[in-house]
């Protein structure tokens, strides 16, 4: 497979401040690639470099096999872009604005604008300036998808969308991938895109912390479990679970005739299931793995190494602390 987007030591500085620092990324064609990171991590800068809105300080970026500057308008016709800060104004209606964008972009199929707008629940007859933030975001999505570009570059596409529309949007992403389109999107929360993304890169302070496929993240996933067993089994259960290295945060609480245990299981669930099998289990809840928490743990570890290269590798405790610090910032 060829790469839809490929960067090599891509660096962008604004004055002395590096917005991107030697970023190496590869996005396979026909995949959905997510870039996750807090605000100011460099996600928007990365996308602007892909579209030749910004030029690299050093390093290189190739989009659909071409240098963005050399590729020029012809290359950008094959890209659909949703900017992170979409500011649409004017008395023009959504439909007229889309007609204009279709003119300066790749050709759109007749009726494509209405079909996509219908899916997202957007009224194209209204003037752009009267649209709410969420509806402007929908209009931005329509113009990005309009000409069925080979590459979609979407900066924070889910921001401002309500949950139902988010689901519809994720369905559009899956269809785009099935149709052979490549999607490069960013978010500051992984949970919004984990269903749709094949691979994710974690970006922080202009550096790629980790690139991973969502499936691998799932392997390292953190699951919260709740377990009810008959009263009296507590000491034995505690001993059994304490023996498992990937079970942490164990706590017990007494209910009427039973004992409720709560814990966090990191990674493989199988040892835990085997360990509890011999107890009289009355109830068991395993929460959907929270990939974001997994990523934040990775974050903490890697960033610890990056920011304090002189320190020895951190213990898991250190990693936890790093993750928590970041998430409260």
């Amino acid at each position: 497979m060829t790469a839809a987007v490929e960067t090599a030591a891509l660096t962008k500085r604004f004055g002395a401040r590096p917005a991107l620092d030697a970023v190496d990324l590869q996005v396979e064609e026909g995949t959905v690639f997510g870039v996750i990171g807090p605000n100011g991590a460099g996600k928007t800068t990365l996308m602007r470099l892909m579209l030749d809105i910004l030029r690299p300080t050093s390093g290189s970026v190739r989009v659909l096999g071409e240098d963005p500057r050399a590729g020029g308008p012809a290359l950008r016709r094959r890209i659909g872009f949703l900017p992170g800060e979409l500011r649409l104004e004017g008395r023009i209606t959504g439909r007229e604005l889309l007609r204009h964008f279709a003119e300066i972009s790749g050709p759109a199929e007749r009726g494509a604008a209405d079909a996509i707008a219908d899916r997202l629940g957007l009224d194209l007859g209204r003037q752009v300036r009267t649209l709410s933030k969420g509806n402007k975001q929908k209009l931005g999505l329509v113009q990005a998808f309009l000409h069925r570009p080979r590459l979609l570059v979407l900066d924070e596409p889910t921001s401002g969308l309500d949950p139902l529309v988010q689901q519809e949007f994720l369905a559009m992403l899956r269809e785009a991938r099935q149709g052979g389109q490549t999607v490069f999107l960013s978010s500051h929360v992984l949970s919004e895109i984990q269903q749709a993304a094949d691979r994710v890169a974690i970006l922080r302070a202009g550096r790629v912390v980790v690139v991973s496929d969502v499936e691998s993240l799932r392997q390292t996933a953190v699951r919260r479990i709740r377990l009810d067993v008959a009263a009296g089994a507590e000491p034995e259960l505690r001993a059994a679970l304490d023996a498992l290295p990937n079970v942490t945060g164990l706590s017990f609480g007494a209910e009427d005739h039973r004992v409720r245990a709560a814990a966090t299981v990191e990674g493989a669930i199988d040892p835990f299931v085997k360990a509890i099998a011999r107890f009289p289990v009355q109830d068991l809840t395993v929460e959907e793995p929270d990939l974001e928490e997994s990523v934040l743990r990775l974050y903490g570890e890697r960033m610890g190494d990056v920011e304090h290269p002189a320190h020895p590798p951190r213990s898991r405790h250190g990693a936890h602390r790093g993750a928590r610090e970041r998430s409260t910032r």
Partner: protein, 265 residues
């Protein structure tokens, strides 16, 4: 794809504003010019002007007010028309690149299949077309009022005056576009364009005071347009060449500048 999409978009989104400017220009002409028989041709007015300090009269250009050409020059070309079209030129020129960039719209336009040069070219053309429309409208209205108001303007000279007015305001607009393309900053584009217009007017006014200071007019776009009194003497080809030549040079500056830098939002 159809031709000049950005030019058409600019004109389509600005037609309301253009209508407003057209009404303003027409109102200025319809208010001032019909009064010529009562003011410029009037003996009392001549006496009043004689009592005023000559420096003031020269500054506002009323020393020629008693002829139809002088009156039209002092009231419209040199004052109200110049002012209205200059304000329009500054605001359109500023919005064309810098304003669009600062409000984030340029980023989205440039993410599509258009080049930066195409943006500068088509938007400059849109500004020029709107200024040309206002000038054409002025020319037609003056022509209509020429007989009834007794201005006695010659058509060729009127055309020369209109060309000068368009030239000096186009230059102002191109300053805004070029500075916008260089810096991407609204405030800089607006300041530079308004500065050039105001400075040009001031240098001309000071240069009018004495022969010793007349050289100041060599540095005034306003003087390049009007020092040779086009409504009386016809086209001043040297002045027009300066105005349009510099405008073209600024267009080249804008084309090169926007192509070379980062677009900021």
């Amino acid at each position: 794809m159809t031709a000049v999409p950005l030019l058409r978009r600019s004109l389509a989104s600005g037609w309301r504003a253009l209508l407003g400017w057209s009404l303003g220009v027409a109102a200025a002409l319809l208010l001032y010019l019909p009064l010529f028989p009562a003011i410029g041709g009037n003996a009392d007015m001549r006496e009043l002007l004689d009592t005023l300090p000559p420096e003031l009269v020269r500054t506002i250009g009323y020393d020629q007010i008693t002829t139809g050409a002088g009156y039209t020059q002092s009231t419209f070309f040199g004052l109200m028309g110049f002012l209205l079209l200059t304000i329009a030129a500054v605001s359109w020129g500023t919005a064309a690149v810098a304003g669009d960039e600062e409000n984030g719209a340029l980023e989205l336009t440039l993410a599509h299949g258009v080049s930066r040069r195409q943006v500068v070219l088509e938007r400059s053309a849109a500004v020029a077309a709107r200024l040309a429309w206002l000038c054409l409208l002025s020319g037609v209205l003056i022509l209509l009022l020429n007989g009834p108001a007794g201005l006695d303007l010659r058509e060729g000279n009127l055309a020369a005056g209109i060309a000068a007015l368009l030239g000096v305001t186009l230059l102002t607009a191109m300053v805004a576009i070029a500075v916008g393309a260089l810096t991407g900053r609204r405030a800089f584009a607006l300041g530079a364009a308004a500065g050039v217009a105001v400075l040009g007017y001031a240098l001309n006014a000071i240069g009018n005071q004495t022969e010793d200071l007349a050289w100041l007019k060599d540095w005034s776009p306003y003087a390049w347009a009007f020092r040779e009194a086009p409504l009386v003497n016809g086209a001043d080809w040297g002045g027009l060449a300066l105005l349009y030549g510099l405008s073209a040079a600024l267009l080249v500056v804008a084309l090169v500048a926007l192509d070379r830098r980062d677009i900021t939002g």
